[in-house]
């Protein structure tokens, strides 16, 4: 399978008063054509930084000291402003946590959907009917009537559907979803996950799905990359990573999910300690200060240990699966 999106050994630093903050260190992620890859990690692990790097929308104090990002073989970090705008409009679409990030509050939904089709052939009426069809497709009632509505007239769940409809209308090769269900209630969350699955089938795009929610990732993705403090610590097929995690951080994270505990407990698990200072990260393994399996060797950089097929963990003490 060829790659829709490939991130190779990417590092991103932010210039701060305390020095260079290493928000991403040597991160590699491959999203195959038509695949759904999840990135899971808690706050501060670098999820937003990764997305901004992919879209080349990093803030001014960011630098990319190393790494390559390729979209269908083309190096995004070398693309000019014009080419980037073209890519962002046509080849890569993003659905953000807050749908208002991609919606303009003062323009009607219909106008905005027509505007993003400016490269497409067809009359205004043809574009409007394409827009309405897509709104109907994502489950918006009275789609033709909704073309005249403004974003504030819709509920949060409906706005997220509109944002997804706009992203899908471009028939992108890669869809990036940045915590698209985090602001939604549980019953809406599952509606949106189902919708993304269906659209992915119909459009045949690849999806990079970013979330801190293990359950959502497990349900939607084929593969998952686990991030901790700017480092990809484990990667593999969803079933392998969640059923037989190899990295101590992943193991702890899964244990912490209270949904897993089917019997009542009075002492819920947590991960003691806090994130390392990324302007002065610990030598060797990034998880060492919080890891209960750490030994002397962990002060040296851990290798990516293959566990089983395409499943690896960056840990000196990770064990090969026998499953």
């Amino acid at each position: 399978m060829s790659e829709a999106l490939k991130v190779e050994d990417l590092s991103v630093h932010y210039d701060t008063r305390e020095g260079a903050l290493q928000a991403l260190r040597d991160v590699s992620i491959t999203v195959p054509e038509g695949g759904i890859v999840g990135v899971v990690g808690e706050s501060g692990c670098g999820k937003s930084t990764l997305i901004n790097a992919l879209l080349q929308l990093l803030p001014e104090n960011a630098t990319i000291p190393a790494g390559r990002i390729t979209l269908q073989g083309e190096d995004v970090t070398r693309a000019g402003t014009r080419r980037l705008r073209q890519m962002r409009g046509q080849e890569i679409s993003v659905v953000f946590q807050d749908p208002m990030t991609s919606l303009n509050p003062v323009l009607s939904i219909g106008r905005q959907m027509r505007d993003i089709q400016y490269r497409q052939q067809g009359s205004r009426a043809a574009k409007d009917s394409r827009s309405a069809a897509m709104l109907g497709r994502v489950g918006i009632p009275d789609p033709v009537g909704k073309l005249a509505a403004y974003p504030h007239e819709l509920s949060g769940g409906m706005r997220q559907r509109v944002a997804i409809a706009m992203a899908a209308l471009m028939r992108p090769r890669v869809l990036i979803a940045d915590e698209p269900t985090t602001a939604l209630d549980a019953t809406l969350e599952v509606q949106i996950i189902e919708l993304l699955k269906e659209l992915q089938q119909e459009i045949g795009c690849a999806i990079l799905f970013i979330s801190h929610h293990l359950g959502v990732i497990a349900e939607l993705c084929d593969r998952v990359v686990v991030m901790y403090a700017g480092v990809a610590v484990e990667e593999g097929p969803v079933a392998d990573v969640f059923l037989r995690p190899g990295h101590p951080y992943t193991i702890k994270l899964i244990e912490c999910d209270p949904g897993k505990l089917k019997e009542k407990v009075t002492d819920l698990p947590s991960i003691p300690g806090s994130l390392p200072d990324l302007t002065d990260p610990p030598a060797g393994c990034i998880f060492r200060p919080r890891c209960d399996r750490a030994t002397e060797i962990c002060a040296t950089p851990p290798p990516r240990k293959g566990l089983n097929g395409a499943h690896w963990a960056a840990c000196h003490h990770a064990k090969v699966d026998k499953a």
Binding site: E42, A186, E189, L268
Partner: protein, 329 residues
């Protein structure tokens, strides 16, 4: 057990329209009911969890109990005392503490942690012998060392800010704590710490708690009973194990099933609900859940169900409650 807190037919209304529009609209359109006839008891020593999706009225419920919004109908009584005839809110709030939804935002940014945890004493005009010792003691109870005394809210992580919120809530040794979304915005790796802290303090101080949450995963570990809200009404209330294993109301079932799990082999037989929660000014007739209900029958659109004892325990507002058999079908 006796009820420490009782609500009977509590109604809270908010203005739905403003200005000229409000004057021109018919009276019934001028206001919306955020709480529409809530009756419940919180028993001494128990933890009641109130669940429901955003806008269902959970925060309004906590605010109504604490007198932060006026009642348009019904009564609230706390420890045998009716809170409707202009009670001494100052005295009530010494015994009913509130933990607010937004941990960092609810702490004044210019105050140090020390001042924040001592603020309840200042508000209630209570003189302390040794302020520093009291602050250290309260922080220690919430799991924070004395090195936090001189920090400001922006220097705290989400979990630490929650702990300060816990310390403040406990300052005046209340009998009842109303905790609004105590885990919202926290990473899973720190949620456990905060819930363990709340469980421990509850046991040590014999507290009664009402926890508002939309985090369904934590219910089993913190709650004795659950009340499920939809559009400002309770649709089901009962023991936690029963609501998790065999919910009687179709909405409770959809809510409990709509909870993605990290186990890829977990069976997913869920009801994916149609549509979204209606607006408060467009309450559907009959059963308010009927437009989205997967098992609605024709009369559900005209007859409104009331909370009645469920055969499996607790109470449910549904004409055709689910049973174990319908659940597995």
């Amino acid at each position: 057990m006796t009820a420490l807190l009782s609500l009977r037919d509590v109604v809270v209304e908010f203005p739905a329209l403003r200005g000229l529009k409000a004057l021109l609209a018919p009276p019934e359109k001028r206001r919306v009911r955020a709480l529409d006839g809530i009756s419940l008891d919180v028993l001494a020593g128990e933890t009641l969890a109130v669940v429901g999706e955003s806008g269902s009225g959970k925060t309004t419920l906590a605010r109504a109990i604490n007198g932060l919004v006026p009642l348009a109908g019904g009564q609230v009584s706390f420890d045998g005392m009716a809170l409707d005839e202009s009670p001494d809110w100052h005295a009530v709030r010494r015994r009913v503490a509130m933990m607010f939804q937004d941990p960092v935002g609810s702490l004044s940014p210019r105050k140090t942690v020390r001042d924040l945890v001592l603020e309840p004493f200042a508000i209630h005009g209570i003189r302390l012998q040794n302020r520093r010792d009291k602050a250290v003691e309260l922080l220690a109870d919430a799991g924070l060392g004395p090195d936090f005394l001189h920090r400001y809210p922006h220097q705290l992580s989400g979990g630490q800010a929650r702990r300060v919120g816990v310390a403040r809530a406990l300052a005046l040794t209340p009998a009842l704590v109303l905790a609004d979304e105590p885990t919202a915005g926290l990473d899973v790796s720190v949620q456990g710490e905060i819930l363990n802290l709340m469980n421990r303090i509850k046991a040590e101080h014999g507290l009664t708690t009402l926890i508002i949450t939309h985090n369904l995963n934590i219910l089993r570990h913190i709650a004795d009973r659950i009340a499920v809200m939809y559009l400002g009404r309770i649709v089901e209330i009962g023991p936690v194990e029963r609501l998790l294993s065999d919910p009687a109301h179709p909405y409770t079932r959809a809510l409990m099933a709509a909870n993605p799990e990290p186990d890829p082999t977990a069976r997913r037989e869920r009801i994916v609900l149609k549509g979204e929660t209606p607006a408060l000014n467009a309450r559907p007739p009959g059963c308010e859940f009927h437009p989205r209900c997967p098992v609605a029958r024709p009369d559900c659109a005209s007859r409104a169900p009331v909370l009645e004892p469920a055969t499996t325990g607790g109470r449910v507002a549904c004409h055709y409650p689910l049973t174990k058999e319908t659940l597995s079908a």
